[in-house]
């Protein structure tokens, strides 16, 4: 029982890890970033590459991945997303195009494979990351075997959620972001530089995706297509929680994680995912604005 609860918690925290960045970009900016999963994938590849080329472990990869994906996010915002504010479904489609581009960039080793140059760690194949010894194996609490790496994921997710909360609710920039969520035009009229704040928000959300990628790399094999299913899961969490609500995302990730854990223990993983999709559909139908939607004006 305790084991199942723990597995559910760890699944939930993985969901939240991926969803956190999305919650910020979707909630704050009204941008559905379908390339978010690919940013997670880039984070995972940063871990692979920094392991191969720098001999660095997962802990070192976290800040590198954050910086790399945040910069990439900044680029995406400047080149594409900036032109599409207010066109929600178009951002979905355009970022889907970007997602394909990023996937192929990794597969083609940044187009260098055409010139016969190969970068170790990139390309269409599968990559593996070895987890540091401290995070391997299990420990026992109350008769339940607890996986160390999953515990680490839960810990990192908790820290990131807390940091995000601090930035959003305890800093000047966070207050500006929240003002933009409420009413972008009014915020602009009050002298907030909306374009700049949006760019920063997008970069921060992308950076969170990068960290999520580092955590995923120790958990699953790394390959160019890994992002697609993640972005879907992330979306379901964000939409179910309610746009613009950090608390909603945290709770819905927890709920979906536990449902997944229990159904998987009772039946199998495939059915567990199906049940999660079913629950999300039901909740959107019952509460179209999500569990914790902001009150309208």
């Amino acid at each position: 029982m305790l084991e199942v609860l723990f597995i559910g918690l760890s699944v939930g925290s993985i969901l939240l890890l991926v969803a956190l960045g999305l919650a910020i970009t979707y909630g704050a900016m009204g941008v559905i970033n379908m390339a978010h999963g690919e940013l997670v994938m880039i984070g995972a590849y940063v871990t692979v590459l920094s392991g191969i080329w720098l001999g660095a472990n997962i802990f070192v990869a976290i800040p590198i991945a954050f910086i790399v994906t945040a910069l990439l996010g900044l680029l995406i915002e400047h080149v594409v997303v900036r032109r599409l504010y207010g066109r929600l479904l178009d951002t979905l489609l355009a970022t889907w195009g970007i997602a394909i581009l990023i996937q192929q960039a990794v597969r083609l080793e940044l187009a260098l494979s055409f010139f016969g140059i190969h970068i170790q760690g990139l390309g269409p194949g599968l990559q593996n990351v070895s987890v540091p010894a401290i995070l391997q194996g299990t420990f026992v609490i109350g008769g339940a075997e607890i996986n160390r790496y999953r515990t680490f994921i839960i810990f990192v997710t908790a820290v990131l959620a807390f940091v995000t909360w601090l930035i959003m609710y305890r800093t000047a920039i966070g207050m500006q972001v929240r003002a933009i969520i409420r009413n972008p035009k009014m915020a602009a009229a009050c002298g907030i530089n909306v374009a700049r704040i949006n760019a920063l928000t997008f970069a921060f959300g992308s950076g969170l995706a990068g960290i999520a990628g580092v955590m995923m790399s120790g958990f699953k094999t790394v390959f160019p297509d890994m992002g697609t299913s993640m972005v879907v899961d992330g979306f379901l969490v964000v939409v179910m929680g309610g746009v613009g609500s950090l608390l909603g995302s945290v709770l819905s990730a927890g709920i979906l994680g536990e449902i997944n854990g229990f159904v998987a223990a009772a039946t199998n993983d495939i059915l567990a995912r199906a049940v999660v999709f079913g629950v999300v559909i039901l909740i959107i139908i019952l509460k179209p604005k999500g569990l914790f939607a902001l009150k309208g004006r």
């Binding site: 559905i32 594409v80 032109r83 599409l84 929600l88 479904l89 178009d90 979905l92 489609l93 355009a94 889907w96 195009g97 970007i98 997602a99 394909i100 581009l101 996937q103 192929q104 960039a105 597969r107 083609l108 187009a111 055409f114 269409p124 697609t228 299913s229 879907v232 979306f235 379901l236 939409v239 199998n268 495939i270 059915l271 995912r273 199906a274 999709f277 079913g278 999300v280 559909i281 959107i284 139908i285 179209p288």
Partner: protein
């Protein structure tokens, strides 16, 4: 008929003549391929109807396509020679016997718990009917619930997206009756009045081409009816239409169901042409790819979306066969897509439309001048 409208129907006619003449220039291998792309073109029509005209971005169109495909594939599976040679008097799918528990009966009724579901599919026309009925029924149920609750925009997209993934997982999980990941392969041929539609003969191509022509013209006529015009009014401003007294959810559900029927029909034809049905039809990637075709061709043009689908597939088949370009082509598609969304939101059809409009107005000034002249002369009298 206004000149623009006449030109538009002229383009439809030209396109239909073109696909009818295609067999003159192609070998059976390419003909089979193009038939598949025409089926994709039909999916383009379905997307244009629901997205362009009803304003519903369905990210789960693959659900309807897959439902249509599986329903006919179940019938054709039972018609295959391997199913007939399984040692029982009635045909039985081979995979069911491979997966059966030792000592299980070999009759379709009771090999496993749900295998009786296959019984009615012994009649091919049941499969054909279900390929249309099932998608429409699913669409009607979802549509009624979603549109009555006034769920709109991205939330509809998320619901359809979650639904298609849910069904995909259920199909995969129901391995004993659906053959799971592997899908239904090794199918028999579609038969009408003793004629077998071998996928590589010209008759099969015409089956698809004529179907597409009917779907195209039908969809175009449908959006010109009163209901179609009301639907576009709803897309442009839902509240206004509601205040004018129209029952908004009924129109939305109706067109959603029509779009589902077209997608289901396309799935059915795809099985005839390609001889398999698989859960990949219900992958998210495939559903979004359909949207990409429609966007590039022109989301609010039925023919545009159709041509977009056919064109992208023909080009990608040609390009990706050039060594080394298979992956690069995908990247180019991604790039095209970003550019189309940014700079060409109405797609290729938008370009064509502007061009036609310019040609027509260049002709028009002279005639309108005459008109004004007669008007003033009438006033003078």
């Amino acid at each position: 008929m206004s000149p623009t409208r006449r030109i538009e129907w002229g383009i439809y006619a030209a396109f239909i003549v073109l696909i009818m003449l295609a067999p003159l220039a192609m070998d059976p291998f390419w003909l089979n391929r193009v038939a598949k792309y025409l089926v994709y073109g039909m999916l383009g029509v379905a997307v244009a109807l629901s997205w362009g005209y009803a304003g519903i971005l369905n990210l789960g169109q693959g659900l309807f396509f897959g439902a249509g495909a599986y329903m006919l594939a179940m019938s054709l599976k039972l018609a295959s020679t391997t199913s007939l040679r399984q040692g029982s008097d009635k045909p039985v799918p081979d995979f069911m016997l491979w997966n059966a528990e030792p000592g299980a009966p070999t009759e379709l009724c009771c090999i496993n718990k749900a295998s009786f579901l296959w019984l009615p599919f012994q009649n091919q026309w049941f499969g054909v009917a279900m390929a249309l009925i099932l998608p429409v029924a699913i669409a009607a149920i979802i549509g009624t619930i979603v549109f009555r609750k006034r769920i709109a925009g991205v939330f509809v997209s998320i619901i359809t997206l979650a639904l298609v993934l849910l069904v995909r997982l259920v199909v995969i999980d129901a391995q004993p009756i659906t053959n799971g990941f592997n899908g239904l392969t090794d199918l028999g041929w579609f038969k009408v009045a003793g004629f077998e539609f071998d996928p590589y003969v010209v008759q099969t191509y015409y089956l698809v081409a004529i179907s597409l022509a009917i779907v195209l013209a039908g969809a175009r006529l449908l959006v010109e009816t009163r209901a179609g015009i009301i639907l576009q009014a709803i897309r442009d401003d839902e509240n206004r239409a509601r205040c004018l007294g129209f029952d908004v959810p009924v129109y939305q559900t109706f067109f959603f169901a029509v779009s589902a029927a077209i997608a289901g029909f396309a799935g059915m034809l795809y099985v005839v042409v390609s001889e398999f049905a698989s859960p990949t039809f219900m992958d998210l990637t495939f559903s979004i790819t359909m949207v990409v075709w429609a966007a590039v061709g022109g989301r609010s043009s039925i023919l545009g979306a159709c041509i977009g689908a056919i064109l992208i597939n023909i080009i990608s088949a040609t390009v990706s066969e050039t060594a080394g370009f298979a992956e690069a082509w995908k990247a180019i598609i991604g790039l095209i897509f970003v550019l189309v969304v940014l700079y060409l939101p109405r797609g290729l059809a938008g370009l064509a439309h502007d061009f036609v409009a310019r040609v027509v107005t260049r002709k028009l000034p002279s005639s309108s001048r005459e008109l004004r002249a007669t008007n003033t002369s009438q006033l003078a009298e």
